[in-house]
């Protein structure tokens, strides 16, 4: 394994996908000039929920870890941002005219606690928004994944974490604002000028596009292939010498960081954050978006979050029992459409088809390479950028030991079959 050469997929630019993505982005850029303020803020909120769903999809759809705790990561990021905005409230707007946020005054605190005070500064708040959820996830991840705990128990642990943290945040009223959370925060401002709603909307659209693009790129890389292999057959990947726990911890932490940023962007828009978003109910809502949209499709959860939110918004004017509809939808999807609504789309529109880079000759697409993806080896995904070198190395790899048969289409099913068959072939030898 040590003398392996970097294995690379043939990556040509998937033109169709870029086209569709570009059109989608364009629509979202034009929308604020068409829609009213309420619709924009709703859409921005749903896009953030969509990003949250994408971050869960990385963990669940690709790696197979079902988590109810993504609402927790989201909310932790949200609290970091909420403290920043609350502490920067001008004295005139503050109920008690002082430095201290109103809920702290109510609860008899006299000085700002030392662990909240630094959040007054924007860079620190932004770092905390990413680092706190990531660190929390890293600790949990290290704790859970380096053990024999398996699938369902991990889910139960995330359920317990969500439940425990809700109780914790509600009980620490003086520091977190209790059940009400942190309300009446100031506007997010850019060097003194408050950013208008459209500005926040554009930031969120950019963030969502970034999350989608990054997740897509990550899952199409060799690293993503390992993740999918872990989902399909963890034991085999372990026997092949990969440190499965490390991969899991890494993607878990990364996804928590993404959820945290989404939460941080949620606060300037929503103007408050509360333990409601920590609770199990919100965590399951995220799971439902991913399940309905389609696991492992990335776009599916985003679409599901946006569509369900929009439908809910209009349905709630008609009926109060929207949750019942969601429940029935979830049941139907789990029982009859296990791959989610995205799988109902015609084949030509499916992700695997769209990622196909133009016509590639069978010869080059069948190139096999050893997957040299290490967790902290950032060079591996980056190497796609220098795929000029790839052609030579792929030729080298062809002749060397081949463990995985990666085809350029990036199709999960085919990749799985071919990887297994290549292993079988090896065994026979």
């Amino acid at each position: 394994m040590t003398d392996s050469v970097m294995g690379l997929r043939q990556s040509t630019v998937p033109t169709k996908l870029l086209l569709i993505g570009g059109i989608g982005l364009l629509i979202f850029i034009i929308l604020p000039f068409v829609l009213g303020d309420f619709q924009i803020s709703l859409l921005a909120k749903l896009l953030l929920f969509g990003s949250l769903a994408i971050s869960l999809d990385l963990v669940w759809g690709f790696t197979g870890i079902l988590s109810f705790a993504h609402g927790v990561f989201f909310t932790l990021g949200g609290y970091a941002m909420a403290y920043y905005l609350k502490l920067n409230l001008s004295a005139a707007n503050n109920t008690y005219g002082g430095e201290l946020p109103d809920f702290m005054v109510w609860n008899g605190l006299e000085v700002l606690p030392w662990f909240i005070a630094p959040l007054k500064y924007f860079p620190i708040a932004v770092i905390a928004m990413i680092a706190v959820p990531a660190l929390f996830a890293f600790i949990i991840g290290t704790f859970i994944f380096r053990s024999k705990v398996s699938g369902v128990y991990i889910t139960i642990i995330t359920l317990a974490i969500s439940s425990a943290l809700t109780t914790f945040f509600v009980s620490l009223q003086a520091y977190t604002g209790g059940t009400n959370g942190i309300t009446d925060v100031s506007d997010l401002s850019f060097f003194g000028t408050p950013i208008p709603l459209t500005g926040i909307y554009f930031i969120i659209v950019a963030f969502t596009a970034l999350v989608l693009g990054f997740s897509f790129w990550l899952t199409q890389s060799n690293f993503g292939l390992i993740l999918r292999s872990i989902n399909e057959n963890e034991k085999r990947i372990e026997y092949l010498g990969y440190d499965v726990a490390r991969f899991k911890i890494f993607i878990w932490t990364l996804s928590a960081a993404m959820a945290g940023i989404a939460g941080g962007l949620f606060v300037p828009l929503n103007k408050f954050i509360s333990p409601v978003y920590l609770a199990v109910a919100f965590g399951t809502q995220v799971v439902i978006w991913v399940a309905i949209g389609g696991r492992g499709t990335l776009v599916g959860p985003l679409i599901a979050a946006v569509l369900l939110g929009q439908i809910q918004n209009s349905a709630e004017k008609v009926t109060q029992d929207w949750q019942l509809v969601v429940g029935v939808l979830l049941l139907v999807v789990v029982l009859f459409i296990p791959n989610g609504l995205m799988s109902l789309l015609p084949k030509q529109l499916s992700l695997s088809e769209l990622t196909k880079p133009g016509p590639v000759s069978r010869e080059s697409s069948a190139s096999s390479g050893f997957v040299n993806a290490q967790v902290f080896d950032w060079a591996t995904p980056c190497s796609q950028l220098i795929h000029v070198c790839a052609k030579t190395s792929v030729n080298l790899v062809k002749s060397t030991l081949s463990l995985f048969n990666i085809n350029a289409s990036g199709k999960t099913g085919r990749a799985k079959n071919s990887s297994i068959s290549s292993i079988r072939r090896k065994r026979k030898r």
């Binding site: 359920l159 409601v276 919100f282």
Partner: protein, 323 residues
């Protein structure tokens, strides 16, 4: 805008119920009182977790709708009391039968299709729990309903009186009834599982489904009956608890996480594990709440359970099998 608020914050009722037992300083009577309160919690936990001990512990079905079966049991008790003016104790058989029938329907339509796919089962039962909540809310509205406890079970049994005759250590008759009920149900279930041929069939099916099938056990029927029985027990729990707190559609959520923690702590193979698990969690909750405060006690207990799952996912009281 999003409708999370209604069912979002889960305040376990038993924690609220014991708030009256706040104590000044460290004195033994109040600690004892708290321990007795803990026994009350143990009773509720045991009752709510017993059904789950069967559906998850024995059958390995991840049932997230367990709390909703408890809620259904409570509503059955409410309906029987409201329209037929029955004593609470007499509504219990109806609650059992009603929830068992709904459980059987669930098994046929949902659970059966998903055997061997735990994560899908988990999702489907979560969907079911949302549906059940929604349907109950449609029928009964979200308004709180109240169920009256029978008059002969009200009042407290005082174990120790101080000089002036006011009780220092007391336990309410209803809590004693809950514990008795829970223990009786546990005993009955254990008899059914380890003393009858039906129980042998269940154990055979869970140990080796294919082999049991070969030997002529109707596995589908066994699954159906066992799951319905587990749901029926949840219904009994709901009926008994309904007198302690108001009945509302999201009430089941309060018990779900705790029931899960109990089953996971106690171990999933033996039903005795449920008793041990509820005793540990209930008493730990009560004692830590006495020393610190209620929410912190809950956080500490949940954290302890997480650590426990990490090191012994099969539970504390499971004999290690040789693989």
């Amino acid at each position: 805008m999003l409708n999370f608020v209604s069912s979002a914050i889960f305040w376990p009722t038993y924690i609220l119920a014991q708030e009256e037992a706040a104590a000044e300083g460290f004195n033994w009577p109040s600690l004892l009182n708290q321990a007795l309160n803990g026994i009350g919690i143990v009773g509720i936990l045991l009752l709510t977790a017993l059904g789950l001990g069967i559906t998850f512990g024995v059958m390995r079905i991840i049932n997230l709708a367990h709390g909703e079966f408890i809620m259904l049991g409570a509503y059955f008790a409410f309906v029987m009391q409201e329209f037929f003016n029955l004593d609470l104790l007499l509504t219990i058989p109806f609650a059992f039968l009603g929830t068992a029938i709904i459980g059987a329907f669930t098994e046929i339509t949902i659970i059966r299709r998903l055997y061997g796919r735990p994560l899908e089962t988990l999702l489907a039962t979560w969907g079911l729990s949302i549906v059940l909540q929604g349907v109950v809310k449609l029928i009964f509205t979200a308004q709180l309903k109240y169920v009256k406890a029978p008059p002969y079970l009200s009042g407290n049994l005082s174990l120790l009186n101080d000089a002036s005759g006011t009780p220092v250590i007391a336990i309410s008759y209803y809590r004693m009834f809950i514990i008795a009920m829970a223990l009786a149900l546990l005993g009955l279930t254990m008899f059914l599982f380890y003393g009858t041929s039906w129980g042998r069939n269940i154990r055979a099916v869970t140990q080796n489904r294919d082999m049991a099938k070969c030997l002529g056990v109707n596995t589908q029927f066994v699954d159906l009956v066992t799951f319905s029985y587990g749901c029926g027990l949840a219904g009994v729990a709901g009926a008994v608890i309904s007198a302690l707190k108001s009945v509302a559609p999201p009430m089941g959520q309060d018990y779900l996480v705790d029931a899960w923690m109990v089953v996971v702590t106690g171990g999933v193979d033996k039903l005795v594990g449920v008793l041990a698990g509820s005793f540990l969690i209930g008493e730990a909750n009560a004692v830590i709440a006495f020393m610190l405060n209620d929410p912190l006690a809950r956080v500490i207990v949940l954290a302890a359970v997480i650590v426990l799952i990490r090191y012994r996912p099969e539970g504390l009281f499971t004999v290690q099998k040789r693989a």
